[in-house]
């Protein structure tokens, strides 16, 4: 089934698109279950449509992941969701065992990734999840940008029966990139760029937004968007990237260590790879999402500056 995104209504935020798509999939696949740890909201569409397969397990993230393992081994395809810091960090050992060692067909959908929690503070930020999950073999990691890409990733996860970790934000919605209604390309080329120009590599919602804005400001830049971020996908994406460009700026709302820039630098040893990311600081002040990002040095001037430095002789 492919999603049809009508232009008549605003795009859905990542987690709303996940809920809506999973609700539709569950209508066709009785194995699909929806688990929440009390952060799914009071009007969850899956709960309305399939109340017998929806479980708010309470504030119990570790138990939720492990119970999902039991459900997967018992023949079901559980999708579970809670905020990224609680999924990827509090329940990290459960993810290692369930998604990694057991290779169970469990999908974890993690909103509030990066600093999308903004003024809620550091406990509700997660700038470390890619480092954790990328180190667990066998997990498909995705950070979709826009409604169409999220829907496509959720469908892929449901089809595969393999472990997935899907990272998304809070309530912001993003206009989908073209051509992403079904099979997602390994590398989505937004702009081929000029001859010899640096190539922006965008990751996740805000990383992609910043790359799109940077390319608008500086049309010579190339821009490639990656949705899948696990090692296997990145290794293949790196081959495609290095076949076209030699200098890259990776834009990701994550710590410098353990993110995609580090991985691509290792995978493309003959290329120059720099990162624009959230660095090392702990945001301890309020502000909206963009203001907190800016406090971390993760903003449009940083992207433009990094690209400019790559051009310097």
């Amino acid at each position: 089934m492919t999603a049809t995104i009508t232009e008549a209504r605003p795009a859905l935020a990542g987690r709303d698109a996940y809920r809506d798509e999973l609700t539709r999939i569950a209508g066709e696949d009785p194995r699909v279950l929806c688990l929440e740890a009390d952060l799914g909201g009071k009007n969850h569409p899956f709960q309305r449509a399939h109340p017998d397969r929806f479980f708010n397990l309470g504030i119990a993230e570790g138990a939720m992941v492990d119970m999902a393992a039991g459900l997967a081994v018992g023949g079901y395809r559980p999708f579970l969701s809670t905020f990224a810091p609680f999924a990827a960090l509090r329940a990290a050992e459960s993810l290692k065992l369930t998604l990694g060692y057991l290779n169970a067909g469990v999908t974890v959908v993690a909103p509030y990734a990066g600093v999308s929690g903004a003024w809620f503070g550091t406990t509700h930020h997660c700038l470390e999840d890619l480092a954790v999950l990328r180190s667990v073999p066998g997990v498909t990691i995705a950070a979709p940008y826009g409604e169409a890409e999220m829907r496509a990733v959720v469908r892929a996860a449901a089809r595969s029966g393999k472990p997935y970790y899907i990272r998304t934000g809070r309530n912001a919605a993003y206009t989908s990139l073209p051509g992403q209604d079904d099979e997602l390309p390994l590398v989505a080329w937004d702009s081929a760029g000029g001859e010899g120009e640096p190539c922006l590599v965008s990751v996740g919602e805000e990383g992609t937004r910043l790359a799109l804005e940077a390319r608008e400001r500086d049309p010579g830049l190339a821009h490639a968007h990656l949705v899948y971020l696990d090692h296997d996908h990145l290794a293949r994406a790196a081959a495609e990237l290095a076949g076209r460009h030699s200098r890259f700026v990776v834009v990701e709302e994550h710590r410098r260590e353990g993110g995609v820039a580090e991985a691509l630098a290792l995978l493309m040893p003959r290329c120059e790879v720099v990162g624009v990311n959230a660095g090392h600081d702990w945001p301890a002040e309020g502000g909206d999402h963009h203001e907190v990002m800016a406090r971390l040095g993760f903003d449009l001037p940083a992207v433009l500056s990094a690209a400019s430095r790559l051009r310097a002789p």
Binding site: A60, D66, M67, G70, L71, A72, G74, G75, E93, Y101
Partner: protein, 276 residues
């Protein structure tokens, strides 16, 4: 607190599954555990022997073919699990000579490469939600069978255990059973000294569980308490089984030092002869 052993019917003990047969399986399994203590690796002997009768009874229920899954959450008692699986005919080979050896799956904590084992345990607490998830999968499919988690008492110091008890009670998972191997010991000493668990059955009752307290070496009592068809039950069941560390091997019975033991072949032979 409900002491179910007072009210349940005795286990159906046909000639092939009678208590004598289960007792013989337990003795044979204890001899295998001693063999594993005599391996180059040694093993968690005391806890493997304390939990053995619980494992024999749980596997007896699982062998009924009704979809019951037993998860040994106190995974450090892997030697006991391998021995119990072998005497139940689940393993294709005697695990004792292969315990901890390269090229074989019989690691010091069990994982899903061992025949009959579906979940990795040893990091304490995780087996409880694995079994609860299994129980939920049975209920969702309208199928019989229990999810049985076998824990240690020291293991109950892990928050994940109680987190899962909260969930299981809220979800009315009547086919989820948690059996505590209450041997009183843990790695660095006695549970009562390190972090005591007074009024344990009452704790589970307060969570909304049915509870039973049994002699954890009484195979008839264990098989009885695990024999119920809980398809219609709406409260999970906690079985607090009092056990003795090192049970069945007089040289180590009741001794805290039996937690992890490495012995030579001569001592193993002597200890095995003493198993009755």
């Amino acid at each position: 607190m409900t002491v179910l052993t007072d009210v349940l019917e005795p286990v159906d003990s046909g000639p092939a599954t009678g208590q004598d047969l289960l007792a013989e399986r337990a003795r044979e399994a204890r001899r295998l555990v001693v063999d594993m203590a005599a391996s180059p690796r040694g093993c968690h002997l005391g806890g493997s022997l304390s939990v053995l009768d619980i494992l024999i009874a749980s596997l007896h229920r699982a062998s009924s073919g009704d979809g019951t899954e037993m998860v040994l959450s106190k995974g450090h008692a892997a030697a006991g699990l391998y021995a119990a699986l072998y005497v139940n005919g689940v393993l294709p080979e005697n695990p004792a000579p292969l315990y901890g050896m390269a090229g074989h799956p019989y690691t010091g904590h069990p994982g899903p490469k061992v025949p009959g084992v579906r979940f990795p345990t040893g990091s304490l607490g995780h087996g409880v939600p694995y079994a609860a998830g299994w129980a939920l999968s049975r209920r969702l499919g309208g199928k019989p069978g229990l999810g049985i988690a076998v824990t240690g008492d020291g293991e109950l110091q892990e928050g994940l255990v109680w987190e899962t008890c909260q969930v299981a009670a809220a979800q009315r998972l009547g086919n989820f059973v948690l059996v505590v191997d209450r041997n009183g010991g843990q790695n660095d000493g006695m549970v009562a000294d390190v972090s005591p668990l007074p009024e344990l059955a009452a704790r589970f009752a307060a969570f909304g569980f049915e509870t039973a307290e049994v002699d954890g070496h009484d195979l008839a009592a264990l098989t009885a308490v695990l024999s119920g068809d809980r398809t219609e039950a709406t409260r999970p069941l906690a079985v607090v089984a009092d056990t003795v560390k090192g049970k069945g091997v007089p040289a180590v019975e009741g001794k805290a030092a039996s937690h992890y033991v490495t012995i030579d072949a001569a001592r193993a032979a002597k200890w095995k002869r003493a198993i009755r």
